[in-house]
Symmetry: C2
Subunit: 356 residues, 2 copies
Amino acid sequence: MAEEEFNRISILHGGGGLYMQKLLKEHIIPRFRSRRFKEIPLDLLADSAVIGDIVFTTDSYTVKPIFFPGGDIGRLSVSGTVNDLSVVGARPLGISCALIIEEGFELAKLGRILDSMERAAEEADVEIVTGDTKVVERGKLDQIIINTAGIGRRSEKLDENLRRAASDGRSLKSRWLDPRNIRPGDKIIISGTIGDHAVAIMAAREELGLEAPNLKSDAAPLNKLISEALEIGGVVACKDPTRGGLAALLNEWSETTGIGIIIREASLPIREEVKAACEILGIEALELANEGKAVLAVSGKYAKDVLEAVRSHPLGRDAEIIGEFTREYNGVVMETEIGGLRYVPMPIGDPVPRIC
Amino acid sequence: MAEEEFNRISILHGGGGLYMQKLLKEHIIPRFRSRRFKEIPLDLLADSAVIGDIVFTTDSYTVKPIFFPGGDIGRLSVSGTVNDLSVVGARPLGISCALIIEEGFELAKLGRILDSMERAAEEADVEIVTGDTKVVERGKLDQIIINTAGIGRRSEKLDENLRRAASDGRSLKSRWLDPRNIRPGDKIIISGTIGDHAVAIMAAREELGLEAPNLKSDAAPLNKLISEALEIGGVVACKDPTRGGLAALLNEWSETTGIGIIIREASLPIREEVKAACEILGIEALELANEGKAVLAVSGKYAKDVLEAVRSHPLGRDAEIIGEFTREYNGVVMETEIGGLRYVPMPIGDPVPRIC
């Protein structure tokens, strides 16, 4: 990167990896002062903020192309915001719809996108309650950007879920699903196959010459699936592996907790098409964005029952326990299929820009 | 407008006037179903949604230029969202900061914008509690767009304020500041001069050859000013005249209530520079966007006291009672300075695109 480029925003800054963390932690978060609402501080990089028992989140979507197998920017935007609320332990209630549209955009396409937002909202049993619409001159925006913010209320199931987690003798640092609650021995569950969204988007872009005709984006609201898991109890933290993928998520958790993570490659759910795409393009499946997957950290005692509960939900059929927190390693380590060990580093940026 | 253009988004659709209302009412709002949260329905085009005692809003900012006399996109974004919460009768609590940045944007400029957001947040005594950052390839976005969503809680002063409004015998249709509460005889107060923001932006763009060296945007958080008014009581509705200006706001109120409005030109607070700019450019000051003004509908009995309370706030020194609701007219009518009457129509779009 050229000298003067250091002073400018690069595509890597939006990738969910190291560059983005650096941007957030050095340039953005230190500028905002927490005065009253400190329960989940900004620098935890949680998906949502907490104000009393209200949970609040925001996400903008710039995905390209805007329609893709398995969804579109509308479905993505509602699902993503529902998921950001859900992974903290909230029951999502209301979603906002802020449209920023390029002059000349077809009304018919806008209609398809909005219908798709409404369908996703109905799936999640939330409502689109407020919005804003801006129009930008032709050439000053690439078609459409959607921002969805969301509010939710603390899930009724959270207290009992955490009480069970604490029954193994731990004291909980947070009354939310929060990586600060994690301790060694906690199991890591992923709700399904990794990389589907990113590879579906790459294939839809065509420019890469990638074909994956049967692959669809996994974009979906996960609130009901997560609610099933909370019903069992023992879930201490949860996050959706979007930009930066599973690799970024696990590295964030390991850094926040100061506890190592071991995952087993053989137990990672991954579709053949995604594996093939990663081999062809020389990219790492662990770094690929997902838009309908949750990763749960669960007290060992409850892990198998939580796994069964997640699997009983249609979006969780391929769920697996992929590893656990351990003092044996620092950072994130993967036992490969042939039995070796390797570090899973924090991604630098996302291998694919404009993924969500 | 050419035939096929009817099927596409035009700049006018973002202008806060007739075109925008048509877009919202025909293409956007009907696609979203209200199931539980019906207290302030979407088609009321209120600034915020209400979920129990929580108020929720969103707004995106695409202003050009991003730095202008009196503020920048950061100050604008926090002020606008604080105001959208306040005008419904909420005490703002948390603001989100969703940044969408063009690749190559200078970090130093980003820093200035974020510092400005934080200063506006401190002024309003709210906190920036959550955020999102996306980066878009060079040429696919014009520098930066900011979306700020916000949540607030029902103001403690609202019940007593509305109780006083009801003391003149009216029954209130809404327990919020809501145009459905208005009845003939209610006075209309504006908190200060109109058009400052729009003319400051136009002058900053230079391309129009407009000079207004002493004029500044009025962008400011109004929550404390509105709170002063609620302390007096009798305020039944409130809104900030942003895109579409005072003309759009009053026409919306008249349409929603089915009650006519008379305003007096002589009582309209307006700066000489704004008047001059309107004459030079042949535009209507009533249609110009404001970003730090509130319009209040107040029970006649309390109007003078509310005016005094608003004037006692530094942002409300130029406040005036500009007219009232009346059955004598349909729509919005203005008594001109020379004593004639003329209709104030709903604007078609904003005379200036990318104003906020």
